[in-house]
């Protein structure tokens, strides 16, 4: 195994892997954030009193969690552009060719999947908030938005953090699937390098090590965030 091939610069793949890692991190961060936004909406729908909204949100989480992510990625990759073009044609009479950037497609796919898992976490966290705290807030005359901001939100964040840490690790790993549509993240660069240098083991091992590093850093970061969110709790 020749490791000089992984050096920095024109002869080595070190810099390519470095930028690929940055892309993996940005896809994961954007998808995770997009997923949280979806999850807050879906949680609100799941806890709503309207049956249609509840059914929609349940359909979203059941379907996304029940079918492979790869199917969704192929769907958006092969069908996203034509769907977008038919919408553009119908709504704005715009007939030029449209193509979504691959990065955006990736974030869309991984975010959809990440959001379904986050929904279950956030829903559980909302249900874990003691009703008494909400009643107390009502009793001292807080209005709905103050109550959400001061009472519900801080507690939900604290209850949801452990679960969201798991979802983050899941999202980070799922970004690898975007390599099948050609985004130059870690697995894709490993594939390209493996093909052109004829050293597949070295390159995929390098990819594996990079993911290990990201997971290790996430573990550390997650511990300190959890500590921070529990700062106001006794005996924690």
């Amino acid at each position: 195994m020749d490791l000089t091939i992984l050096s920095w610069g024109a002869d080595g793949w070190g810099d390519e892997f470095f930028y690929a890692t940055l892309i993996t991190i940005s896809v994961a961060l954007c998808s995770f954030a997009f997923g949280i936004v979806l999850a807050v909406g879906a949680t609100a729908m799941k806890l709503s009193k309207y049956r249609t909204l509840r059914a929609l949100a349940n359909g979203y989480t059941t379907i996304i969690r029940g079918i492979p992510e790869l199917l969704i990625i192929y769907l958006i990759f092969y069908g996203g552009n034509s769907l977008l073009m038919s919408i553009a044609k119908g709504a704005f009479n715009y007939t030029e060719y449209i193509e979504l950037p691959i990065f955006l497609m990736g974030v869309l796919c991984i975010g959809l999947s990440s959001g379904a898992y986050s929904t279950e976490v956030i829903r559980g966290a909302v249900l874990a908030v003691p009703v008494g705290t909400i009643e107390a807030a009502k009793a001292i005359g807080m209005n709905t938005s103050t109550r959400l901001r001061r009472i519900l939100f801080p507690q939900v964040v604290r209850f949801a953090l452990p679960g969201l840490g798991n979802v983050w690790q899941l999202t980070l790993k799922e970004t690898s699937l975007i390599s099948v549509i050609g985004l130059a993240e870690i697995v894709r660069i490993a594939q390209i390098g493996a093909g052109s240098e004829k050293q597949p083991f070295t390159f995929f091992l390098m990819g594996l090590v990079l993911f290990l590093g990201l997971a290790f850093i996430s573990d550390r970061g997650y511990l300190s965030i959890e500590k921070w969110s529990n700062r106001g709790v006794r005996n924690s």
Binding site: T62, G66, I67, Y74, L75, K173, F201, T202, L212
Partner: protein
């Protein structure tokens, strides 16, 4: 929506269903034995057993399955001569072998954590009672620890089985024509990804639904004695 493509997709994807089921069941079978061994090693007091088990679990749980599969399938090519000389190349050149090996190692790592949690949940009093009756270590494990740990681990294991069904779709990236592989072929042949997605999605959902039902009925059956 093109009805003809839907009609075409149903038999094609149905034919690939046994492939998906075979991938899931073979790797779950071997993965389970691996998981029990890894879980017991992790709980062992000896560092030469629990350290390697910890590292194995950490690596396989914190890296994507896709790269594990590529590392085994494509990566083994780098050591073709070495593998050939010990007679293993005939296995590593087969996508089926590599897919099942990577799925087994992956599910083994996840399942070992579920089983470890189950074993740790067995209360000490029961083991002491067993010892007081004069059971040997093996008898204690077989009659007390293992059955109780399994019952405790069942809900978590059910989730793992569903994740495995989803994970087998990655085998399509190393040329295996499972349901996802066939889906991809149909959607690129007809340039229409929506119709076959409905069919493939329905098959996956149905499979996972059956697993959910099976696991929850097993849970009910096992919990009868506690009532």
């Amino acid at each position: 929506m093109d009805i003809d493509i839907i009609k075409e997709s149903i038999p094609a994807i149905a034919q690939a269903l046994p492939v998906t089921i075979a991938l899931v069941s073979i790797s779950l079978f071997f993965g389970f034995f691996l998981a029990v061994i890894v879980a017991l090693s992790r709980l062992s007091r000896h560092n030469f057993l629990n350290k390697p088990a910890y590292i194995f679990v950490y690596i396989f749980r914190s890296t994507p399955l896709l790269i594990q599969m590529f590392l085994i399938y494509y990566g083994s090519g780098q050591f073709r001569d070495e593998l050939d000389s010990i007679g293993l190349w005939q296995f590593f050149k087969e996508p089926w072998f590599c897919a099942i090996l990577s799925l087994t190692l992956n599910t083994g790592a996840y399942t070992s954590e579920i089983i470890r949690g189950g074993i740790q949940s067995v209360s000490l009093g029961l083991l002491e009672a067993g010892k007081a009756c004069g059971m040997s270590t093996i008898q204690l494990f077989r009659r007390i620890t293992f059955p109780l740990a399994m019952r405790q681990a069942l809900p978590g294991y059910g989730n793992e089985v569903i994740l495995m069904v989803k994970s087998t779709s990655l085998a399509s990236t190393i040329t295996i024509m499972d349901m996802t592989g066939v889906y991809k072929e149909i959607s690129s042949d007809y340039f229409s990804p929506f119709e076959p997605l409905i069919i493939a999605g329905a098959f996956y959902l149905a499979l996972n639904y059956i697993i959910t039902i099976a696991v929850s009925s097993a849970e009910k059956r096992l919990s009868l004695e506690t009532r």
